[in-house]
């Protein structure tokens, strides 16, 4: 019994310490600037399970990585409009560091900080601890219903239309956009949501995977199991650069034929592609 109590006190101390750390890096007023952004009940959570308290503790290590490991730089973050918005980005790096970096940037660098959401794979809720962590920091399962509901609540949602194909691409395919899904465009049209294209530079080199070991993936129940020359796909200290584009407003029928939607999706994809090319030309090196 005392053991459990000591344990509880310890985890509370860790939590407080982490929160202090976050504040020291992001500014003491971060809580205040964020607290009005989402409804909270008497148990400190919003209906989707996001907890500001938990998120402020959880974000500490990621904020440190953002500042010191990946030394993330943002360009044009002020272009993200208030209210509902879909951030559409390229996806890479084996581990979703790109999502984390965009999330931290929106939380700490945007004029009006926003806790954004991203849509996670359906296998995430089957993972212990990971599922709870994702839910408390506001990440939810990527079903169209969830996305629609959140956009109607004027939230900012990050989507990676390349999905699994994007994050798991191997080193030779870096910065080559994979096929985009159409789902995000239907939702944007349906809910009248502007799309902000985002190009992430750096992530595509963070874990230069050379092979995807399919039998191992199957054994572990993972969607993919990429390996780098140094083994597991752990991210190298590449420099992250996030380029935010001008919001694009689309009009049209959400239930239009796929061909029509593909045309609109192509516009977004082209915008990201040109931002990627621009970003690659601008940068001096991969690691600094």
């Amino acid at each position: 019994m005392t053991c459990a109590r000591v344990n509880g006190r310890l985890s509370n101390l860790v939590k407080q310490g982490l929160k202090q750390w976050t504040r020291s890096m992001a500014g003491e007023d971060l809580d205040a600037r964020l607290s009005g952004s989402r409804p909270r009940n008497e148990y400190g959570v919003d209906p989707f399970g996001f907890s500001l308290d938990y998120a402020l503790s959880a974000i500490g290590p990621f904020l440190w990585l953002y500042k010191n490991y990946f030394r993330c730089e943002t360009f044009g973050i002020e272009k993200v409009p208030p209210g509902r918005v879909l951030l559409v980005s390229n996806h890479s790096g084996q581990l979703p560091v790109d999502g984390v970096m965009i999330g931290v940037a929106m939380l700490t660098e945007a004029k009006a900080p926003r806790a954004i959401r991203s849509m996670v794979e359906k296998w995430v809720p089957t993972l212990p601890w990971v599922s709870t962590f994702f839910a408390r920091v506001g990440q939810i399962v990527g079903t169209p219903e969830n996305c629609r509901r959140l956009l109607e609540k004027d939230e900012a949602i990050l989507v990676f239309p390349e999905g699994m194909k994007g994050i798991s691409k191997l080193y030779p395919q870096r910065y080559q956009l994979q096929e985009f899904g159409l789902g995000f465009m239907r939702l944007a049209l349906e809910t009248n949501t502007p799309i902000v294209p985002v190009a992430v530079i750096g992530g595509e080199e963070q874990a230069p995977a050379i092979v995807n070991v399919k039998p191992l993936a199957k054994l572990l129940g993972f969607p993919v199991m990429p390996l780098t020359p140094y083994g597991p796909p752990l991210p190298l200290p590449v420099k992250y650069r996030l380029h935010f584009g001008d919001p694009i407003y689309f009009t049209g029928r959400a239930d239009d034929e796929d061909v029509e939607l593909e045309k609109k999706v192509k516009v977004v994809k082209a915008a990201i592609q040109s931002m990627i090319e621009h970003g690659l030309k601008e940068r001096k090196a991969v690691f600094w």
């Binding site: 009940n41 989707f48 399962v141 219903e145 509901r149």
Partner: protein, 306 residues
């Protein structure tokens, strides 16, 4: 509504509804169990819903409305008993309602018909498929009962049929699976899983059932309580200390315990404390204008009998 037949009146929820209703309507209860502490102005016919005598009750009283909640959930009863009682009982009630000119049928289903799953959206609407039986075949009858009422709705447009699907019902006297689970001082939880849950107080469900009698109201509705909380917050509120059990171990262990009658929960119930099964209750709140009277804290604490 002058005369209301209330099936399953002797259950805890049945008594709550009866007490809310008997001052404004003539309540006729049907239940094979005796009705302990029955107010004098309530009639009670102690008969199995599948029996012929049920028809007699309808013939004699000519009720204006039926509230059907005579549905059995006990996991200890055999499959056959369950299925027969729930499905045949419901068919009998609906058949009588159609035959004897009932104007309104209110049927108690449950948000559990959607079933917990890792693929669920956070808030399921009434149009979501009823998937509960895909992972937990023993609840087939509860889905079938819901679908029977659905079919009845379309076949009898002259009758206003209302199907209510409330979230986990909790209360002091309630002996259903969620209330029993929340009363455990050292409950199992799935290590690393802390799903959001929705609870509703018995009396709030009772009020919803009564409100569903209002002329003009019909259709299928999810009924939600005061909100959503992580399961861990519920136990913190109650002062109970959960035991985290790895989910890969929990299922085989519980299924063995259940088999030898050392546990009262079938292993499939673990899905409810691992995955989401939450519903969107907006349709009901907008159309009925009804808000739960108990706060989240009161609802949670109600299982303790406070």
């Amino acid at each position: 509504m002058n005369k209301v037949v209330l099936t399953g009146i002797s259950g805890n929820l049945g008594r709550v509804v009866a007490k809310q209703l008997h001052r404004v309507a003539h309540v006729i209860g049907i239940d094979r169990r005796p009705f302990v502490g029955r107010p004098k102005d309530i009639d009670h016919v102690q008969v199995d819903l599948r029996k012929k005598k049920v028809e007699e009750v309808f013939r004699k009283h000519r009720p204006d409305a039926v509230i059907h909640m005579g549905i059995m959930h006990d996991p200890r009863m055999t499959q056959e008993d369950h299925h027969s009682f729930n499905v045949l009982g419901t068919m009998k009630v609906l058949e009588c309602a159609a035959k004897y000119g009932v104007k309104k049928v209110v049927m108690l289903s449950s948000a559990n018909v959607y079933g917990p799953s890792p693929e669920n959206s956070n808030f399921l609407t009434e149009e979501s498929p009823l998937m509960a039986a895909s992972r937990f075949p023993q609840v087939r009858d509860l889905i079938e009962v819901d679908m029977l009422a659905h079919g009845f709705f379309w076949r009898h447009p002259e009758i206003e049929t209302v199907v209510l699907r409330p979230v986990h019902i909790v209360g002091a006297s309630i002996k259903n699976a969620p209330s029993n689970y929340l009363r455990l001082k050292r409950p199992w939880v799935m290590a690393g899983f802390d799903p959001m849950v929705q609870l509703i107080h018995t009396e709030d469900v009772g009020r919803a059932m009564v409100a569903a009698l209002k002329p003009g109201r019909k259709g299928v509705y999810n009924v939600t309580g005061p909100g959503e909380v992580p399961l861990s917050a519920v136990f913190a509120e109650l002062g109970h200390r959960p035991i985290p059990v790895p989910h890969l171990v929990a299922k085989p262990v519980l299924s063995t315990l259940f088999k030898y009658r050392l546990a009262s929960y079938p292993p499939e119930e673990l899905d409810h404390i691992q995955f989401l099964c939450m519903v969107d209750g907006a349709r009901w709140t907008t159309e009925s204008g009804l808000r739960p009277q108990f706060t989240m804290r009161e609802t949670i604490r109600s299982v303790l009998g406070e």
